[in-house]
Symmetry: C2
């Protein structure tokens, strides 16, 4: 998606440890006009699927998922990283190791909101090692719903997640795949 790649080139900042900082438009400040174009592109790429629900994970996936949901005309469910007083009843859960935060989360989704008849599209901002995507797909599997695929805004193609999951049969549509980030801050796309 050229609009997105141009924006990453313009405003993305490479930090040590293979961190790409895109918090001026994607995951701290959020450019809603850009999100609308991202949502339309996900719809275009998954136009062959009869998606009934979008699943994402807090926090930075939520905004993108909600705007994309307008293109699909479906509700969004977000997996929560901590149990709170406000979720009760039966839950689906999975363990997710976070590369960014350096810890492992228990993520949960209420059983009420994923049903065997659902066709699920997972949406997230980043794909690197693929831990979040694996955890979310485990939750979808436990619910009996059908996982149609995953829509990712930025994939770090130099990390293994995308390859492993595609090899395992998951359909992943990444709007920008980064081949390399150099020490002097250059971003090279696949």
């Amino acid at each position: 998606m050229e609009l997105l790649k141009d924006r990453i080139m313009k405003d993305g900042k490479v930090r040590k440890g293979n961190v790409l900082k895109v918090d001026s438009f994607l995951n701290h400040q959020m450019d809603i006009k850009l999100f609308e174009e991202i949502g339309k592109e996900f719809k275009r790429r998954f136009s062959d699927c009869d998606i009934t629900k979008i699943l994402t994970i807090e926090s930075s996936g939520i905004g993108i998922a909600c705007i994309a949901a307008q293109s699909f005309g479906v509700p969004v469910v977000f997996a929560k990283k901590n149990t709170t007083k406000n979720i009760d009843g039966a839950l689906y859960s999975a363990q997710i190791e976070s590369f960014t935060h350096g810890k492992t989360y228990n993520v949960i989704v209420s059983r009420d909101y994923l049903k065997p008849e659902d066709n699920i599209l997972i949406i997230d901002d980043f794909l690197a090692k693929g831990k979040a995507l694996v955890g979310l797909s485990q939750i979808v599997k436990k619910s009996g719903a059908t996982l149609c695929g995953a829509g990712i805004v930025i994939e770090k193609g130099f990390q293994e997640g995308g390859k492993i999951l595609r090899d395992a049969g998951m359909r992943i549509e990444s709007l920008a795949i980064i081949k390399e980030m150099t020490d002097d801050g250059k971003i090279i796309f696949e």
Copy 2:
């Protein structure tokens, strides 16, 4: 907002400890069509303000803020509850005590995304004791930006936050204000 009140009456569930569970449409599963109407209503109520940015707090405010931002034509910034590798540089921070989670968070916003020339609308899903709203307004004040007001989806009118903050001069527009929740599960609006 009648559409919202009707939905709360239909799908909201009262739990002990004055908890109102609305996770079927507001803060776990998210009804995006309803969010669009909520966004339009916030725009109608704040139509006299030249809002330049919406500020919210992760996680359950993000979806509502992003959809509302379409009505205002502005970006969204969400305050983060934990520092991560992906935020660096100077930060504004505030302490927020969470009623729901029973702990105190340090919340942060990058200085890059709140400027003295900004007119800020805070958006959040709930107002009860007002701790989140106080923390976010402290961050706005530190940035030198103007706080135009706060748009709240559901206010627990029987808790003190709304009264204290309105008495202190904050403009708060709550789309549904709950006067009472009874032991047998009835919800009574103001």
